[in-house]
């Protein structure tokens, strides 16, 4: 693809005051390529109907488009069977689904769940809740000072009682890429399942759920250049078949009487109610876009941006870049300035057209570990370029002149 940026209409519109947009918040939500926007419009304008219900022409067309999207998503992540791909509302719902549908009827006070200090609240709070409901013990892997999982202490917290290890593929704050293969090996040895929160990692690097074999993978459409409101849970078929339903209602049943019901086959068993039809179809288009671009190319562009951003930010005095060295991380740079609070930083960067995120990024335990209340985060995607890092660095210097007068 010659000019990736040109595929994204929003990136080529100046802001209301005429300033060019420097969008460095793709870790929060990625912008959408024209093909994804067109796919949604095409669905609504030419063949929209509810899914799995209509025998009329549009009903059939929607079903074909939806199942086609499912198959392409399955192929992208290396799932053996398309029905192992469940459409959800996003990563949060996907993880809650596993916590409740897998965990609630299986766990007892003798069991343990293993998380870690860097997890997003979406991969922490559902397990806390499951622990309260079942009496299971929630344990966590500590972090090293540079923001990696402290694997030297893995043996202390991964025990024969561990039933599931929930881990992010890539930290949404530090950018840390976690050693999934090593964790899967260790989990297998004690008979634990592994859930990977792929919200951040799936858009940036190729993943194959069969190597290393992971049990559950959760990710969102909107960070993968697709629409918001749709996401995916991949689950190994044998686990999904054994699990109870999560949400109950239409589409997920086989037979219903007034007093009891039986469940539909996969994937319908976990897709109660009306799906976000157009969004799911357009997520298939987003997958085509990403696969077409190629994960090698995505990685190459992002690696160059990360190297440069990390270096240039680290060179600014009194500015701390959190997380590991670039070799162990993806395209996220979170930083703290001694005298410019992240809120003020984001507000002042806004004046230069730079969109970043400030706050705790839904990782309060991690921020406690870092010893800061909040951080400023710049995150990169293949539509960014090196000139935007210049704007970022200048804007940071500008913020410092405003708030560091004395």
């Amino acid at each position: 693809m010659e000019n990736i940026r040109n595929e994204f209409p929003i990136l080529n519109r100046p802001l209301a005051d005429g300033t060019p947009l420097v969008y460095l918040d793709s870790a929060s939500s990625a912008q959408k390529p024209r093909v994804v926007i067109d796919a949604i419009r095409e669905c609504y304008e030419t063949y929209y109907a509810n899914a799995h219900r209509g025998v009329y022409q549009f009903g059939v067309q929607v079903d074909e488009a939806l199942e086609g999207a499912r198959e392409r998503i399955a192929r992208m992540i290396g799932a053996e069977h398309p029905e192992e791909v469940i459409f959800t509302s996003g990563t949060t719902m996907s993880i809650n689904l596993v916590a409740q549908a897998w965990g609630r009827s299986r766990l007892s006070p003798d069991d343990e769940l293993l998380v870690n200090e860097m997890e997003h609240h979406a991969n922490l709070v559902p397990w806390q809740q499951l622990a309260i409901q079942t009496g299971a013990v929630l344990r966590h892997i500590p972090l090293t000072d540079d923001g990696r999982l402290d694997l030297e202490r893995l043996d202390e917290c991964l025990t024969p009682r561990t039933r599931l290890v929930a881990v992010t593929g890539m930290s949404n704050v530090l950018g840390t890429i976690n050693p999934i293969e090593r964790l899967v090996e260790a989990a297998r040895e004690v008979g634990a399942l592994v859930l990977v929160d792929g919200a951040q990692s799936v858009p940036h690097a190729a993943i194959d759920v069969s190597d290393p074999q992971i049990d559950f993978l959760a990710f969102s459409g909107h960070k993968l250049y697709g629409p918001s409101g749709v996401g995916v849970l991949y689950g190994r078929r044998e686990w999904l078949e054994q699990m109870e339903p999560f949400l109950c209602g239409g589409n997920m049943i086989s037979e219903v009487s007034l007093t009891e019901s039986s469940w539909a086959e996969l994937p319908a068993k976990f897709e109660a109610g009306t799906l976000p039809v157009a969004q799911a179809i357009a997520l298939g288009t987003a997958v085509d876009f990403v696969v077409g671009l190629g994960f090698d190319e995505i990685g190459r562009i992002e690696r160059a941006l990360l190297d440069e951003a990390q270096q240039r930010l680290a060179d600014i005095p009194d500015l701390v870049v959190h997380g590991p060295e670039v070799a162990d991380k993806g395209a996220i740079v979170s930083f703290s300035d001694e005298r410019v609070h992240p809120h003020d930083m984001a507000e002042l960067l806004k004046r230069k057209g730079v969109a970043v995120r400030a706050g705790h990024h839904c990782t309060m335990p991690l921020h406690s570990r870092l010893g800061v209340l909040a951080t400023t985060r710049a995150s990169f995607a293949p539509y960014n370029d090196s000139s935007e890092i210049d704007v970022l660095v200048d804007a940071i210097q500008y913020a410092r002149t405003i708030l560091r007068r004395g």
Binding site: H341, P342, H343, D344, E347, H360, L373, A374, I402, R405
Partner: protein
């Protein structure tokens, strides 16, 4: 009203706050947090027998707006009676800041004010 968030008044109070710290014997203390960003403002009042604020001190951590607003608030309410503070409302607090805040940043600008309102409505009238 300035449309520059980082107007002189805000920056002056951010850099050289009025009564930042702790009272030795406060009549009452309350801390408010903004759960979204973690900003924190603690407000301490010394109230005399006539129900008048003798001294107001704040402490905390957060952005320039939340910290400067708390400083401006302390300066403003010293000498006011609790009765007077009851009629001191949020628009009046925002007016004091002399800058136009977006809805998101109003939460920062009103953090100390929220602590004040909690203190005033829970204060039993007995001076320390």
């Amino acid at each position: 009203m300035s449309d520059d968030l980082y107007d002189e008044l805000i920056l002056d109070h951010y850099e050289s706050p009025y009564h930042r710290g702790q009272l030795e014997l406060p009549s009452c203390t309350h801390t408010e947090r903004n759960p979204l960003c973690g900003d924190r403002v603690q407000l301490q009042l010394q109230i005399d027998s006539e129900q008048r604020v003798q001294q107001a001190f704040f402490d905390g951590e957060g952005c320039a707006i939340s910290q400067a607003a708390a400083s401006i608030l302390c300066e403003h309410i010293e000498g006011m009676t609790l009765k007077e503070i009851e009629t001191f409302d949020a628009p009046a607090m925002l007016e004091l800041l002399q800058v136009q805040l977006t809805a998101v940043r109003q939460r920062c600008g009103l953090l100390g004010f929220k602590a004040l309102k909690t203190l005033v409505y829970s204060h039993d009238g007995a001076s320390a």
